[in-house]
């Protein structure tokens, strides 16, 4: 299995948001402006990679050898929650502007299922540590890509007269659906 294939599949063919339905909440919430979506994307890439590494280590060093695989949900979420809170504190101190921009969504990274999802998927797929890192980074990039595209679309839709009933989440979901359709074109370009 080659790393390039992992990257391609994680970013395009099997995009975490558009075909795996993970991380939808921040996707709907933060994709209003291009700038914030990039910021959020960066935060996700960072946290995702960090947590993927740590959870992989914990699983393969602590849980698996002792036959405690069933503890992985609890252990993983504990680690992720701790990590996110650490990142949050550090960011608050060192880069208040970015912190302001991401606002309440940083704590929400904890409950961003993409983070836990990637940690679990890594284990399910049996990746080694290198693959885990690559997969986590690529997934984060895929998340950012999907979010930035949506932010571009939503910035444009802001200037549009549309029915109040669909404005916001509804039209975002439909757009995501059509984007998801378009991303289907990448299916099968690289086979894992």
């Amino acid at each position: 299995m080659n790393l390039l294939a992992i990257i391609f599949v994680a970013i395009l063919a099997n995009n975490i948001v558009l075909s795996q339905f993970l991380g939808i909440c921040p996707y709907l919430g933060v994709s209003k402006r291009i700038e914030t979506s990039i910021g959020m994307g960066m935060a996700v890439i960072f946290v995702m990679t960090l947590s993927a590494i740590v959870t992989w280590l914990i699983y393969n060093i602590l849980l698996a050898p002792f036959g405690l695989a069933y503890l992985r949900t609890i252990a993983f979420i504990l680690v992720i929650a701790g990590l996110v809170q650490l990142v949050e504190m550090i960011l608050k101190k060192t880069n208040p502007t970015l912190f302001q921009a991401l606002g309440i969504y940083l704590p929400l990274i904890t409950t961003n299922c993409a983070i836990l999802g990637v940690a679990v998927l890594n284990i399910d797929a049996g990746y080694n540590i290198i693959e885990t890192i690559i997969y986590a980074i690529s997934t984060g990039i895929g998340f950012t890509l999907a979010m930035v595209i949506m932010a571009g679309i939503r910035e444009r839709l802001e200037l549009v007269n549309m029915s109040g009933f669909v404005r916001g989440a509804a039209v975002t979901l439909v757009s995501a659906g059509i984007l998801s359709l378009a991303f289907m074109g990448f299916k099968g370009i690289v086979t894992l």
Partner: protein
């Protein structure tokens, strides 16, 4: 053995991360007043800007810092002000006075004619850029609905007659419409201000007669009729002082143009 390991691992992880967090909390501590968030939650959240700040959260910050009066949230009224006082541990200061927006013009489409035909963006400010507005009366409402667009509480609607209508139930008196109106036709008045003269024209009577059927012509009949000296004529326009007015209604009887309105009645009808 398995049970022990479960305890050890989960407990160990908890300890490690708990310790890390405790360290980080001290190392990267940022001073933040929790009351800001509490107050933000108390505010209506319309971000209307009536308080003079960029939005509800920035008002909350200022109010906690003591840089804004606790009663500056107009839409929230007394209730919000009292709540803020409670959070900050202050005495309640807000008065019971309620403020609402009213339209100071009755020159509807058929009554106040246009002097030329305007084509272009349907927005009052835009129309003002072309020869100062298309209405013959240079003070009257243009009726293109800029105020309706900006109202954060959905309290304004454009009537059939080309004049905006205020829904007194929804209006909070935030004043966004008054700021948006390029002709200052909409003003925020005290809901206690029971009588008012809905005209904005500062033209002399003769000019008003030519351009509008319902404009105040500054005849001063009301001034003379008022037993409380509550009415004065400023800039060719009758103004009623709510503090002096006792709502006797004599001005309404004598007004030649039948334009003095009783807000008490307006509210009652609604």
């Amino acid at each position: 053995m398995e049970l022990v390991m479960s305890f050890v691992i989960i407990g160990g992880l908890g300890l490690i991360f708990g310790g890390l967090l405790a360290y980080a909390a001290r190392r990267f501590a940022v001073e933040e007043d929790p009351r800001v968030e509490t107050i933000t939650d108390l505010l209506p959240g319309a971000n209307c800007g009536a308080c003079g700040f960029a939005g509800c959260s920035s008002f909350a910050e200022k109010v906690v810092a003591g840089q804004a009066p606790v009663d500056s949230c107009v839409p929230g009224g007394k209730k919000v002000s009292d709540n803020i006082c409670e959070v900050l541990g202050l005495e309640s200061v807000a008065s019971e006075d309620r403020k609402i927006a009213q339209v100071f013009c009755m020159g509807s489409k058929d009554i106040a004619p246009d002097k030329f035909e305007y084509q272009g963006v349907r927005d009052c400010k835009a129309a003002m850029m072309y020869s100062g507005g298309f209405k013959a009366c240079t003070y009257g409402c243009l009726g293109l609905g800029t105020c309706v667009e900006v109202c954060p509480f959905d309290a304004l609607s454009m009537g059939e007659n080309g004049l905006p209508k205020v829904d007194t139930d929804k209006c909070t008196g935030c004043g966004v419409c008054a700021k948006a109106c390029p002709r200052n036709v909409i003003r925020i008045i005290s809901a206690r201000n029971v009588k008012y003269v809905p005209c904005n024209s500062k033209d002399r009577g003769k000019v008003v007669r030519e351009s509008c059927e319902v404009g105040c012509i500054a005849c001063k009949a009301c001034v003379k009729a008022c037993p409380n000296e509550a009415i004065t004529v400023e800039n060719n326009l009758a103004v009623i002082d709510s503090a002096k007015c006792d709502s006797c209604g004599k001005c309404i009887e004598v007004c030649k143009r039948q334009i003095i309105k009783d807000l008490g009645k307006v509210l009652a009808v609604k």
